[in-house]
Amino acid sequence: MTKNKHYWNQYQKEIADDNYFYERSCIRQSFFPGSETTFLKILREELGKTIIDDPNQHTCTGIGYHSDVVPFDTTMTVCARLFSLMKDAGFKNYVPSCVTSFGVFTEVIETWQNFPEELEKTRNFLRKATGREFDIPNNIVHPSDIIYKYRTELKNKMKYQLINQETGKPLKGVEHIGCHYGKIFSKHAVGGAEFPQVLAGMIEEWGGEVVDYPERRHCCGFGFRQYLVMANRGYSVANTKKKFDSMQAYKPDFVLTNCPGCTMFMDRWQYTIAEMEGITYDDKKMGIPVLTYEELAGLLLGYNPWDLGLQLHQIQSESLLNKIGIKYDPKDKFVGKSGTFLGEPNKPEKLIVDYEK
């Protein structure tokens, strides 16, 4: 455990206080449909902040860019169009939901700062294509930075803590940061690239204990080409397996992530590993729940787990909910907002998804 070794506190960054322009992720709404809505709700209703969710927003090209199908000139121009939407809205603090988008934007802005001719070129491209103008944001942060910044304020509003109700001990959390959060520019990561504090700070502030295991910094298994190229998917699973093999001995209660790819693959590949190898990483054969930071904050604030969309994860979360002591109604798990029963998904053969206390 690294609880008392915080010298990486020197890596801090400016996180704007208020008035944010939010950019949604291409894939998060499919993978973890409650997370972005929960983030907006937390900012508006719990913290009283102003945040714009513009319906005209679009891709940042991140997946295409990192797959080498979108050239960088195009990426810069598409990013510039997103910044032009922020300019129209009169905002200066840009908050992209996706870690890959965050990495793309920081890379684009760094390019413009170091090569002003690229900035001028992008302005011309955008002008010719759309007639629009843009400003470089004053502040660009990831939503996890904002939750980290206000972690104490949120703690004061929380109904639950990361404490095991049966033992009274802190719950053990594995934190995993998206590569594009800190590994492109460590100066943009709270805590730097090697021991980022952004998620660890949330876990510790909210009563939990961070697990420092040997493969803490190893890839989650996404890695774009590892997954996007079908022939490489075995490599993707192998990476995820390496991480879980390494963390298993520490008996973590949950995994916390801030990247859509990490959440997706650390969650879904547990099913794949269970079906392929018969291995699960907890005592009850249910796997280790993998949460986004919005979902974790929402849970502790007392939001309904099914409104947060936890039933749509591969690894079901009831074991964690019970450890924390969160009240929920199992009957509502697959009931839609209209009150209609939506049906239950098919069950895996080896991974257990029905919780029995």
Partner: protein
Amino acid sequence: MKNKSVIIIGAGVAGIEAANNIAENGYNVTLIEKENLLGGNLKNYAKLFPDFYEAGEVKNNLINKLNSENINVYNNNEITELFFENNKWQAVNSQNQKFLADAALLTTGFTVFDAKRKEELGYGIYDNVITSLEFENMYKTGKITTKQGNIPERIAFLNCVGSRDEKVGNHYCSRVCCINAVKQASEFKEIYPDSQAYCFYMDMRMAGQFYEELYRKSQEKHNVIYIRGRISEAAATLDNKIQIKSEDTLSGLPLKMTVDLLVLMVGIEASIGTNQLASQNEINGEYGFAKSKGLYGNDNITNKKGLFLAGTCKRPLTIPETIADAKAAANQIIKYLNQI
């Protein structure tokens, strides 16, 4: 006593050796040291490469010669300013006390690289990641153990920590770490012959006399295993061992192994005093070291009249090189004092 004087800033190997040589020639020497004890970085070592000579003996032999009445030693004095004014070199300490002389010699030496800056190696975070200096301190006690008090079954030494590393801004080679790792690995194996020692390196630079022989002996007698590759990451395991990842670049294969103790061979950087006083006098060279007038015959003089350099304030040097350099500086200073 001749009525001329020199201030020497830094009472390490270079400072003490130069002081002795200058005082022997009848000049008045003011030797100023920021720490309580004299000896500089030499104090940190138990035995020296390549012959395992006792470092304490070298230090004591140097210090014992400081009994000349021509030498005044001021320890616990950190010089913060050095300048030439009213035809005198003036050194000012942190209490604003002034020392005046006709010439000044910088022997402010080096400091070791702060291994925390290589965050991926986990120094300062994991108990069983230590520096080569900490290894020396343990070796002085005759026992090398993990933080938990166990005898390491496996130990790894990593060269070039803070040297030849673009990421930390140090492109240069610290010159002494390779042979020091060979020495320390051999020392470890002498104590614990049943344990295994690994040494990770980029190049083994065995350029000094008897270095190659020691390197060979470490392999033939002690079975130290040398792996050509840097360590990309170190992390603690549940039982407080250190998992390291590297690449064996000779076989072209990635490598992951667990050791009980990881020793970081920290490189040489200019000390704060070197950097500060060299900058004040516009003789600051690359990487914060002080810059001499030229390498060929002018390596102890500077562009400032009466300001001289010796030892590792200029660049990484071994102890014999430092002693020779200090003698050369003393010779230059004596020549200068005779002329003014």
